[in-house]
Subunit: 475 residues, 2 copies
């Protein structure tokens, strides 16, 4: 397959699809809007998943599995929820060759089925908190789809917790959005703004929604994770009460939260360049590719033997590596191929290098090449991987800062939104004004950042306020 | 919740359901035939899954994800396959509020969708072998369901491989059934008979099917894993060819193979007793439960401090343990509860034990209690866990041997089948006779074991043959 990909400056959307397909991350499935996650893309997803899963466990959560079929009647129990989700559901009407008595919705998210079970399991304060997560597929019928970012079926985790008090539920909601921030920033090297959604943008059925928002290479926002405080909405809809310590019946408080395969799209668009993917070392399927260069059998035997020692050293440092000794492709072709696939480090090594007892380490992020003594390749690589991880984060953070603008009036606002970027503005408007702005500019309030210290004048209404928000176009 | 469970001798099916529900492994979902896998059951499944996943990786397989929606037209491309699976499919007819042009089947297994993608990805011998696995949910509409053993939706892994030659496909099919044998015997302590299915029992679309068959506590068989050599059937149905080294187009050879959450049912019914679950240490979510016994605050403080040292020692030995210091339940209740949940080892420790610098280790498999010096608990536990694992396997193997009978005529055959057990017989019959026997006795040929050395007279036809088979009733 050709490694030629469209330039980002020519057509960003096309660049994205080229990278996803040519790096063999994913492919379109036969049903419109569905996606096949290919082994390389799935390995990337598994790395992200394993990190998140460990953080959930460390904070006391356990995994489980709930059925994907939701009876139509269950979907309808929470009014806002059904209004938000039912229109985009896939519906099973036949099973085992017969028409079903009641249509089954394929989960677009699992609040309804999970709360129907929590009703059975929760009786007293001793059963709380209940902290359950599941890693599953969900379906939302989408008209305009894009690989990883918006597909009819996607993979995600959804946490669903039950608590005795409003305070505990709020604490959980915030704990999780912090876990998501750490996942994005410390592992995916993807800086995010953490904040609260406006009522217009919150989850259907939530009291409020917290989110992490990242800036992609085209200056659009990617909502990358959400954590919802559901109050007692689902407990009331499914009649889930518990006996408190005073022996009084109370409704349970709930949260739900999720991140999805969309994160893979975030990695691609945060770090990728015109050569293809650039993967942060902490989540890269391979952190280093070794490309031996030989011209004859004698050189090959010699190199293979030396490389086996390097392999042992890399393993002792827990570096994930791959040796590409395919004899049917040239070294140049391999360089391009693995750059396109975003492997953070490349080790080139040939007979002349071996004479000098050295190898060449090439960084994917900067293109820099370093001559490193054979004995030190593993330690040099370990240091470089840390440096690449940090550098990718710093670059992305600088990019986000450079493309975040403060404006004081709607005219300037429209200019920035037109050109691309986040707009940070004081805001005292209402939902109607939010909708008007979206109608005219396609920009939405991505979030009300947690970090609120200043006060000023609303760019739209002119009112004094101590709230600022981030506007942007989004995926 | 009461820990009272039905005795196996009273009602084996009821015993099974009691154990599943009271040990909180699983619960019924709201849609008939669906199952909720609760955290304790899911942890058990994850342990089995992780072991299998590592074995697949070690033998060169990679994970991926294919969409669950299969267009109706794809299902119909392989004639035997559609005949076998279409009648038990769930069908999506509506999406996004509209009737779909073409109904979508929810995967009952993914050969059709995967081979439609392999057609895009496979061009030359360089693309082979392709060794892909996925861990997913599948749906088969079942009339009679039972938790873990037969549910409308279940979790499984399905491997789908593509090869250049018939020999390689056969080698893969056998390699996988051997991995399944190791998984069952060495990790789940569940002895199995490895063999080939008769044509009547093979997978719809396969050339032949290999299987592992285990004996449950009620002497019925559980088909626990299958590996199919698909020949060129799916390659021809989906027109998947490759250019061989001689530059000639050839159809690709295929295999597929899977194990499912049914394995959890196998663990329960292989080892469980009237007190509940007995879990093999290698897959138990907790290998040891520590139950401290105190009567006052002073004792509690002292015990907690000593236990923190024991915890460190257990961690150094990588023993998965849980401390149950819940003050709202009695020690006796805890003993019953954790026996019911099948934890292999229990450590009881109270102030008087501490005076003597000892604790009591109780084995779940034999009920045996051992006084062990505080300093040696971790090493004693490590040894005991190995012994319990081995003992469970040996007990199950003895049980299977004791309940496997050789018979020479149909009259004796019927008697054994009636009483329960496997029947090992020489067999020279055909598919029609197999169906007749099933009709009359409900027993089927579980497999034609790999291990064939003897010859004798067919119990049914009287013909001389060198093939023996295992008959049994099955789940």
């Amino acid at each position: 397959m050709s490694v030629k990909i469209t330039k980002r400056s020519e057509d960003y959307a096309k660049w994205y699809t080229d990278v996803v397909q040519k790096a063999e991350l994913a492919d379109y499935g036969p049903v419109k809007g569905t996606m096949v996650i290919r082994p390389y893309g799935y390995a990337l997803w598994e790395n992200i998943k394993n990190i998140a899963d460990q953080m959930f466990r460390d904070s006391g959560h356990v995994n489980a599995y709930f059925p994907m079929f939701i009876p139509e009647s269950y979907m309808k129990k929470e009014a806002e929820h059904v209004a938000g989700f039912a229109p985009e559901c896939a519906v099973v009407t036949h099973g085992g060759g017969k028409k079903l008595d009641e249509p089954l919705y394929i989960r677009p998210t699992s609040e309804t089925i999970i709360w129907s079970m929590y009703k059975k399991w929760i009786n007293s304060y001793r059963d709380l908190p209940l902290l359950i997560n599941q890693w599953v597929n969900v379906v939302r019928w989408e008209m305009r789809t894009r690989l990883f970012l918006r597909t009819t079926e996607f993979l995600w985790q959804e946490g669903h917790t039950a608590h005795a008090t409003a305070e505990e539920a709020e604490e959980e909601t915030r704990k999780i959005i912090e876990i998501y921030r750490v996942l994005a920033e410390d592992y995916m090297a993807m800086p995010v703004i953490v904040g609260k959604k406006t009522d217009a943008e919150k989850f259907a059925g939530a009291v409020h929604t917290y989110c992490i928002e990242a800036m992609m290479g085209d200056k659009k926002a990617l909502q990358s994770g959400t954590s919802h405080n559901l109050g007692q909405n689902f407990a009331k809809a499914f009649d889930v009460t518990y006996l408190n310590k005073e022996n009084k019946l109370e409704y349970v408080y709930a949260t739900s939260w999720g991140v999805s395969t969309r994160l893979v799209g975030g990695v691609i668009m945060t770090h990728g360049d015109d050569k293809g993917l650039i993967l942060p070392p902490k989540i890269a399927p391979y952190q280093m590719v070794i490309i031996p260069i030989w011209r004859n059998g004698e050189q090959k035997a010699f190199l293979t033997e030396r490389i086996s020692k390097i392999r042992q050293q890399l393993e002792s440092e827990h570096i994930r590596y791959l040796v590409d000794d395919n004899e049917q492709t040239s070294a140049g072709w391999k360089f391009n191929q693995w750059e396109m696939k975003g492997v953070p480090l490349r080790l080139e090594i040939g007979p002349r290098d071996l004479e000098k007892k050295q190898g060449i380490l090439a960084r994917r992020d900067t293109g820099e090449k370093l001559f490193v003594s054979i004995e030190n390749i593993h330690t040099a690589a370990t240091d470089l991987l840390v440096d690449i991880q940090n550098n990718l984060y710093r670059l992305a953070l600088d990019f986000m800062k450079q493309n975040t603008y403060e404006v004081e009036n709607y005219k300037d606002f429209k200019k920035i939104i037109e050109e691309g970027g986040f707009v940070k503005v004081f805001w005292a408007g209402d939902g109607k004004m939010e909708a008007d702005i979206q109608e005219e500019t396609r920009a939405t309030i991505r979030c009300i950042p947690f970090d609120q210290k200043e006060s000023g004048k609303c760019f739209y209404t002119g009112k004094a306020t101590n709230t600022y928000v981030i506007f942007g176009k989004s995926y």
